[in-house]
């Protein structure tokens, strides 16, 4: 259950639309099922009332949409941002990807989002309705009239279990109270992998990454991936589709994807959320973040606007690549 109610958000958006502050609203809209909430643009109060959604499935981070949606818009676009979304917002501003003047950002508090895969693991397939407005999540399936009741804490998305911040780092207006940066355990899993042998790690990733179907959803959803022309769209790159290999095929794609956002990834978790194969992509991003923190000092992408990403920076005393392993193996 979210602390802030859907009606409050609609009321806010409608009043700003009606008084002319904004011309459109970027928010969460109804999808095919209760749990596949999708990004949507609303232009009137009626549209909001009919289609606007705010529940435990509003994981989508809208920062990236601002690039295209503000491009030819007359007036301002209202956007709702959860705390983690505001980091991507700042990062995109740092990279001059959209015009701040064209956006009216409203911060909404977030109590954590639900992972539909975890819900299905409890309720089974065939979900006809999900209601997250009560203390418990009520899941109705086509097989049973009585809903399955699930504790939201049991199906919390991984990225929300390890939430790094409930604090909004950018907004024009904040609904609810200001949150805090959290001392999360988000690097624990990376550390566990680091402690394994190379062979074990290889087996781990082989198992995870071979499931990849190269749908490119991770790239498409990532707010750090906003290049107009992407290397993965180039049929001559040799990494645009699944490649035959005698070990496993997708490692090159994944190194490249993660590397392209290294130092700019805010750890928003969108990549893992949208992956239809439930591949823990966030572990690759977090490996880079953890390394960068250890080698070059703590750095959180998107914390402020205008900060210089660590991989386009240097000091004369930086660690040598070889020393990285000496240090770890000690």
């Amino acid at each position: 259950m979210q602390k802030i109610m859907r009606e409050q958000l609609i009321e806010k958006a409608a009043s700003l639309l009606n008084n002319g502050t904004v011309t459109a609203v970027l928010g969460w809209g109804k999808g095919e099922f209760d749990y596949d909430v999708t990004p949507a643009v609303f232009k009137t109060e009626e549209e909001l009332k009919a289609g606007f959604v705010w529940n435990d499935f509003c994981g989508a981070n809208f920062s990236k949409y601002l690039v295209k949606k503000t491009d030819r818009l007359e007036g301002k676009l209202l956007v709702f941002l959860k705390p983690c979304d505001t980091y991507s917002f700042n990062q995109l501003l740092t990279e001059h990807r959209f015009d701040r003047e064209k956006v009216y950002a409203i911060g909404v508090p977030c109590n954590g989002m639900a992972d539909i895969a975890k819900i299905k693991a409890v309720s089974g397939e065939g979900i006809s309705a999900v209601d997250t407005n009560g203390e418990k999540i009520a899941v109705t399936t086509i097989y049973d009239d009585a809903p399955v009741m699930i504790d939201p804490a049991d199906v919390l998305a991984e990225r929300c279990i390890n939430c790094k911040s409930k604090k909004h780092v950018a907004y024009d207006e904040l609904l609810g109270e200001e949150g805090d940066v959290i001392d999360s355990a988000r690097f624990d899993e990376v550390a566990r992998l680091e402690a394994m042998s190379a062979d074990e790690r290889f087996a781990f990733w082989q198992n995870e990454l071979s499931r990849c179907i190269r749908c490119n959803a991770c790239r498409d959803a990532c707010p750090a991936c906003t290049c107009e022309k992407c290397v993965f769209d180039n049929p001559a790159s040799g990494v645009e589709n699944k490649s035959p290999a005698n070990s496993f095929e997708e490692q090159l794609f994944h190194v490249i994807r993660a590397y392209h956002v290294a130092g700019r990834c805010t750890d928003c978790g969108e990549c893992s959320r949208v992956c239809p194969q439930n591949i823990p992509l966030h572990l690759l991003n977090r490996k880079f973040i953890k390394d960068i923190n250890e080698f070059y000092g703590e750095y959180q992408a998107g914390e402020t606007v205008g900060s210089r990403a660590p991989l386009v920076n240097y000091t004369t005393e930086d660690i040598e690549p070889g020393e990285v392993f000496d240090r770890r193996d000690k």
Binding site: A203, V255, Y259, L284, F295, D318, I319, E320, V324
Partner: protein, 144 residues
């Protein structure tokens, strides 16, 4: 049956101003280093897009080594400082995926260090021979 001796394919990216000249000096001084080392000359170590390294592995390289001017000596002042950060991140990631860490290396070799160049290549080749073929990052489409 005769077992075929493993001849590794090693790609060495060398910056034009220091390491390539170092390799030249090694040659001029008749210092031996393995013929399997294929040198690719680049204007500066920071010309080496991390994609080049992945590409080399994809196409069957067994090891990739990068050589540039010593820190502070880059012909373009700061290129190798960027290289150092990029490669630290990339090598660490490859290791994280379970690619043997000995398959990648970065070494600073000046134009005067012909002996260091030869010694580095001998040592690197030895490590790669110990490891054997690169199976974990190759792409079968690129196999001849």
């Amino acid at each position: 049956m005769q077992v075929k001796e493993f001849k590794p394919l090693i790609v060495a990216f060398c910056c034009n101003w220091c390491s390539y000249a170092g390799a030249d000096l090694a040659g001029g001084n008749r210092l031996n280093y393995p013929a399997e080392v294929k040198i690719i000359r680049v204007p500066c170590s920071c010309r080496i897009n991390p994609m080049f390294i992945l590409r080399a592995f994809q196409r069957g390289a067994d090891g990739v080594i990068i050589c540039g001017c010593h820190p502070g000596d880059c012909h373009y002042t700061s290129g190798n400082y960027y290289t150092r950060r990029r490669m630290a991140a990339l090598f660490s990631m490859l290791d994280f995926l379970g690619i043997e860490k000995e398959r990648t290396r970065l070494e600073w070799v000046s134009a005067a260090e012909g002996a260091k160049f030869a010694a580095t290549m001998n040592d690197f080749a030895e490590k790669i021979i110990e490891l054997g073929e690169n199976k974990r990052l190759e792409d079968l489409r690129c196999k001849k």
